[in-house]
């Protein structure tokens, strides 16, 4: 949302997806490096932060980890409001969760901010034996919809840091700057436009 300092930026990131897809586990793995077999079902939403260095910029992710239960669906807009990035998580062993992920993508495309960075994460990649969604299928879907896709495993930490790193790299270089979002740069646009669209 806001920017701090010259080389440090904050970015609001929201995780969405079906219940039990592993949203909380992904966040816990990324922020604390931990993994619990029995990660408690999220109630409401959890908030965590983690800082990541990309090139010479430090990005502080403000992560909103939401509850996946359908009952809370209508509360989701408040979490993705103003988000710079969204990770849509599904469980590769559960076809329903992939369907649900697609719905989230649709919703974000119509409701989210226009320059939202969206990532699709197929979690539980360690459970290869129980796989129901092929990576090719997800990859094709992601490409169609302008997302980037990775299969992750919170349990083995596979691709977890990579996922966040990739998001950080894709964040728009020039985010709306300013502490309270109040800042304006002098704009050459009117003059330029004038010369091209001059009237008598």
């Amino acid at each position: 949302m806001a920017t701090v300092g010259t080389n440090q930026r904050q970015a609001k990131l929201v995780l969405l997806g079906d219940m039990g897809a592993g949203k909380s586990s992904l966040v816990l793995r990324f922020t604390k490096g931990q993994f619990f077999d029995y990660q408690e079902s999220t109630i409401g939403a959890a908030f965590l932060t983690q800082t990541l260095a990309v090139n010479d910029t430090t990005i502080k992710f403000e992560i909103w980890d939401t509850a996946g239960q359908e009952r809370y669906h209508s509360l989701a807009p408040m979490y993705y409001r103003g988000a710079a990035a969204a990770i849509i998580v599904y469980d590769i062993t559960n076809p329903d969760s992939f369907t649900r992920a697609k719905k989230w993508v649709q919703e974000l495309q119509s409701q989210g901010s226009s320059n939202l960075v969206m990532a699709l994460a197929g979690n539980k990649a360690d459970l290869e034996a129980k796989r129901s969604t092929k990576p090719e299928e997800a990859q094709a879907y992601a490409e169609e919809n302008g997302l980037f896709f990775m299969e992750t495993s919170a349990k083995t930490a596979q691709n977890v840091n990579e996922l966040f790193y990739e998001i950080a790299k894709r964040l728009p270089k020039l985010q709306p700057a300013g502490q309270q979002g109040i800042s304006l740069s002098e704009r050459p646009a009117p003059a330029a436009a004038k010369s091209s669209m001059c009237c008598a």
């Binding site: 029995y38 990660q39 408690e40 109630i43 908030f47 965590l48 009952r71 209508s74 009117p190 009237c199």
Partner: protein
């Protein structure tokens, strides 16, 4: 006299001085001497060692010419040459020279940049001397007098000679002209020395009134030309036939009503208001009445007329008969057609600017000073002395205007559906309000309210809020705001607040009407109705009591219902004190509790005695409130929560102790009792506007640092879950947590794999209707059965309570009051900021939706306006309630806004032009696109009309009224739809070789090389105006 002799020697323009082109050629008469300023004469002798004053004059002209020659075009530009109006690349520089007591001005006209040698025989934008004589760069010498012409023939000759001598001494080939005779005759004489062997003489004159019939026709013009070439009398019947090059340009004009073209003897593209036009055209609809801005304002049609220029390219005619045929040939057969619209050029200075742009400027100005006060009232009432100064210049429109605006906003409202009610942030990320929503329309109204100054706006706003309060107090549905939508976070906060208020008003009026309907005889409750209070019979008896208590409770409630009091103490939220099941809530963070229950207090049903429930606190149920499903997300899952039919409700439920059921869920059965699993009626989830969300977000974020805080945070977020569990328990008295999880979080119920255990404990096996094994083998997921699981904890703590008995998650009364408080106390800067963003987005949308055909350049102009607006307005639109922009910010915004308004006006003006052209040229799309793009290029407009669009373009020139006697000799011919051309221009040229063939050896001595034109004539004529210019090459 000496000077006279010299003049004769150097005279290079010996041609007729006094003769009009009509007369027969006469001998040159260089008779007039320069009489003034000759002091030498008075001395009685000529001193040849002294330069005469005339020689000094020549020398000074020569100096000037040399200087200009040396400078070259670029150098002349540096010396301050000015571009000539109406020309593309012609510039002029002038210098005054005195001769005796007379002052002359020498003007050099020169072309900057390489002149493109085009095929175009009738290039646009020529100076009239260029057009008449086919010259490029030239000098004009004129006296500095009122008329600017020389009336005296000898003086003209002297002046021309002077310039010619000066030019020849510096080896320049610039042609030189002097204006002669009357100004209105536009007569010129000129000379050009090409080389030592031959020179060209120029001559132009005009008949401004009665034109001989013969010269109104091409035939006569041909004869006139031939007579000049062959020295025959033009009136004689025996006109020798001569091969003459001929090209013609016809100009037809169709001015708009109330406008007239000036006749400039050629395409002018200047249409001026007719002086005799009274400005009224009662039967004429406004040109823009169908265009999207017409609801707000009307714009003068920027297109004042059209000119059609039909050109016949170079061709040869051999005699006058052949020539006359071109008069009868259809204009449709011309080699090229060009269409030139005339635009209104100069607005009268007292005429106010039109359009949204200038209005937006006013609003931006109001925004820039809005930081000077804390409350909108301060701007509306001049009570503070320091505001006095600021406001005294601002006027407020009369009450009738206010009435009209309020009437439009509140009482002529359309249903809140359709186009303007959805916010479309495509192409920008500015938070505004939908165009036709209450606030959106208010913002645009404010643009046209008086002069859009801050005082007028403030007064309008106060009245606006008064009307809204009336709606809230009297339970009137808010116009132009849908009560079915939850606040749209993409819109501005004010619109969200109004959306919130609309929902609150709806709930309030539902509650009110339910109360009226309710009768004591009402026994078994229709559970599906949202406001049904419960199933106990005793409940209805308490209604009266409850209503009595209502007042009291509302009063006590007002402490925590105060809109600003978001940090209300948790105790206030528990009517019966803090002895609910959530005793462990008493953490230091309790004070933040209210943030998480924006609707009300905790969902603590146990401690909730019924008679303390005020009407306002009654919960709203999901199935009574159909929250709008998010766009693009199918709501098949949501339906589970929202749409229960009421039919399944049975008396039996009551007997079973079942309360608040929304009906059995598919074929699901309770695990232990093998009863149908009923989905409970759940409470409506709280609605939140953006500011509430941010508060909540900050609170959650601030509670997410440590593990202990996490527990506190979790507990704070359990209101919905606890409410659902209590309702579930009430609907399914014998349910377990497993049942709840199967309904609420199905993936946390794991069915055991078949192969995992065949051994059935027969004692507990039931067989369902479908023959399935009961109970199904399954268990809660590990995470749900983990020790210390929050779900299990809450499940154990909540008592069964149907949603109707619970404390509401969303308190519409309190939320409605909060909205009203916001409207009452909004800072002017925030109000104006939101109005500005909304108005800008609305106005840009109007431009975007104007029918302008397929104009890629204008489309891209509009989108660049959007992106500029985005850059400027986004920071303003994302200003939060708490933000106090600094002076520097405001100043910077102000500057950016001014630029933005300027850009807006440019684009808007282009849209006006495009819309007007499109309206008139819809059927000729290529001509339309061509016109508009040339308009963008240089503000003028000209388009080549392709042959297949000529029919459509001709429609612009409707058939002349009344019967036209096409045969009449007093008309010019070359009709288009019965119109004769407003101007007919002809260029005639005779080549030396053709001349030789015709005239034989008589003139052989004078002949030059091949391809040389010996005579050139330009004629521009109408029935009462004839301009002729002739150039003749002569050899020494």
């Amino acid at each position: 006299m000496e000077t006279k002799e010299r003049a004769e020697k150097t005279e290079r323009a010996p041609n007729a001085s006094g003769d009009r082109f009509m007369g027969s050629p006469s001998a040159s008469s260089v008779s007039g001497a320069v009489s003034d300023g000759e002091p030498d004469d008075l001395q009685g002798f000529d001193d040849y060692t002294m330069a005469s004053s005339w020689e000094r004059f020549i020398a000074s002209v020569e100096t000037i010419c040399r200087e200009w020659q040396a400078a070259g075009p670029e150098g002349l530009l540096e010396k301050g040459a000015l571009s000539v109006d109406g020309s593309r690349s012609l510039h002029r520089i002038h210098r005054e020279v005195s001769f005796g007591n007379k002052l002359y001005v020498i003007v050099l006209f020169f072309q900057v940049g390489a002149r493109q040698e085009t095929e175009d025989e009738w290039p646009a934008g020529l100076h009239h001397l260029q057009l008449w004589f086919g010259v490029t760069d030239f000098l004009v010498a004129a006296p500095v007098t009122l008329s600017g012409v020389i009336l005296d023939a000898p003086e003209a000759t002297t002046l021309l000679s002077t310039v010619a001598v000066a030019l020849s001494s510096c080896g320049s080939h610039w042609p030189a002209f002097v204006p002669v005779h009357d100004r209105t005759r536009k007569a010129y004489k000129g000379v050009q020395g090409i080389s030592s062997s031959y020179s060209i003489t120029y001559e132009a004159d005009r008949i401004g009134s009665w034109v001989p019939v013969r010269l109104m026709h091409l035939e006569g013009l041909y004869e006139l030309f031939v007579s000049k070439v062959a020295f025959t009398a033009p009136n004689t019947a025996a006109v020798p036939s001569l091969r003459v090059e001929f090209t013609m340009r016809l100009t037809y004009r169709a001015p708009m009503i109330g406008y007239d073209y000036q006749n400039k003897g050629g395409p002018s593209s200047v249409a001026e208001p007719r002086s005799d036009y009274d400005g009224e055209s009662p039967n004429e609809p406004m040109w823009d009445e169908d265009l999207p801005w017409a609801a707000w304002h009307s714009v003068d049609d920027p297109v004042k007329g059209f000119e059609l220029i039909a050109t016949w390219k170079k061709r040869f005619v051999n005699d006058s008969m052949e020539m006359s045929e071109y008069e009868n040939t259809s204009t449709f057969l011309a080699d090229s057609w060009d269409l030139v619209p005339a635009f209104s050029i100069d607005k009268e200075p007292d005429q106010p600017e039109e359009g949204f742009g200038v209005r937006l400027e006013g609003l931006a100005k109001a925004f820039s000073i809005s930081g000077n006060a804390q409350f909108v009232e301060d701007f509306a009432n001049v009570v503070k002395p320091e505001m006095d100064l600021l406001l005294e210049t601002f006027t407020v429109p009369p009450p009738s205007v206010l009435e009209r605006v309020l009437k439009d906003l509140f009482y002529e409202a359309v249903n809140p559906t359709g186009d303007g009610f959805t916010y479309d942030p495509r192409g920008h990320s500015i938070k505004g309000a939908p165009r036709d929503s209450l606030f959106g329309r208010f913002a645009v109204h404010s643009l046209f309210y008086g002069t859009c100054n801050i005082r007028a706006i403030s007064e309008l706003w106060l009245e606006f809020v008064r009307e809204i309060r009336f709606c809230w107090d009297e339970c009137q549905q808010l116009p132009r705001v849908s009560p079915e939508d939850s606040p749209d976070l993409r819109t501005c906060l004010l619109h969200q607040k109004l959306q919130m208020l609309a929902v609150c008003i709806k709930l309030k009026s539902e509650q009110k009407s339910e109360k009226v309907k309710k009768t004591p005889l009402h026994g078994s409750p229709p559970v599906g109705k949202p406001s049904e209070e419960g199933s106990e019979a005793s409940r209805t008896d308490q209604n009266d009591l409850q209503q009595k208590h209502g007042e009291e409770v509302r009063t006590s409630n007002s402490a925590d219902a105060h809109p600003l009091d978001t940090g209300a103490k948790v105790h206030d939220l528990y009517p019966d004190g803090a002895d609910g099941p959530y005793t462990n809530l008493k953490s230091p963070q309790d004070e933040m509790e209210s943030l998480f229950h924006p609707g009300s207090g905790s969902p603590d049903p146990a401690s909730h005695t019924k008679d303390s429930v005020s009407a306002a606190e009654e919960p709203i149920f999901e199935n009574g409130y159909k929250s709008a499903p998010e766009e693009g997300v199918s709501s098949e899952d949501d339906e589970k929560w929202q749409s229960w039919s009421e039919e399944d409700e049975e008396e039996a439920d009551v007997k079973e102790g079942r309360r608040g059921s929304a009906g059995p869920l598919e074929n699901m059965m309770l695990l232990h009792s093998y009863e149908p699993l009923h989905a409970p009626i759940t409470q409506m989830l709280p609605l939140m506007t953006e500011d509430m969300l941010m508060e909540r977000e900050q609170a959650i974020a601030s509670l997410s640092r440590s593990q202990s805080e996490k527990q506190a945070r979790l507990r704070l977020q359990t209101d919905i879950l606890a409410s659902d569990m209590a309702a579930f328990k009430a609907a399914n008295p014998r349910a377990t947590l497993e049942d709840f999880v199967r309904w609420h979080s199905p993936r946390d119920w794991l069915e055991d794999d078949d192969e995992n255990g065949d051994g059935q404990t027969s004692s507990s096996v039931h067989t369902g209707d479908s023959g399935e094994i009961w109970p199904p083998r399954g268990r809660l997921s590990e995470r749900m059965s983990h020790p210390g699981n929050m779900w299990a904890e809450i499940w154990d703590q909540v008592a069964p309570h149907p949603a109707s008995d619970q404390k509401p998650l969303f308190d519409y009364q309190r939320e409605g009051e909060k909205v009203m408080h916001y409207l009452d106390t909004v800072r002017p800067q925030h109000l104006l900021g939101q109005m500005l963003c909304t108005a800008f987005v609305s106005c840009m949308e109007i431009l975007k939706h104007t029918k302008i055909g397929d104009l890629a350049r204008l489309r891209s102009g509009i989108s660049s306006l959007y992106s500029s607006a985005n850059m400027v307005l986004e920071p303003i639109s994302t200003m939060t309630k708490a933000d106090m922009p600094s002076k520097e910010d405001v100043e910077m915004w102000n500057k950016a806004l001014q630029n933005l308004c300027r850009l807006f006006k440019v684009v808007e003006n282009d849209v006006f032009v495009a819309a007007s052209l499109y309206q008139k040229l819809k059927l000729a799309p290529r001509s339309f696109v061509g016109l508009f793009s040339s308009y963008l290029d240089d503000g003028k407009s000209l388009a080549r009309v392709s042959v297949d669009e000529r029919e459509q373009i001709a429609e612009l020139f409707p058939p002349a009224e009344g019967g036209v006697d096409l045969e009449s000799r007093s008309r010019m011919g070359n009709y288009l739809n019965g119109h004769e051309p407003d101007v007919r221009e002809v260029k005639l040229k005779c080549y030396e070789e053709d001349l030789r063939k015709t005239l034989g050896s008589r003139n052989e001595r004078r002949m030059g090389g091949k391809g040389m034109a010996s005579h050139r004539m330009y004629i521009s004529g109408t029935a009462n105006d004839l301009q002729v210019a002739l150039s003749v090459v002569s050899r020494d």
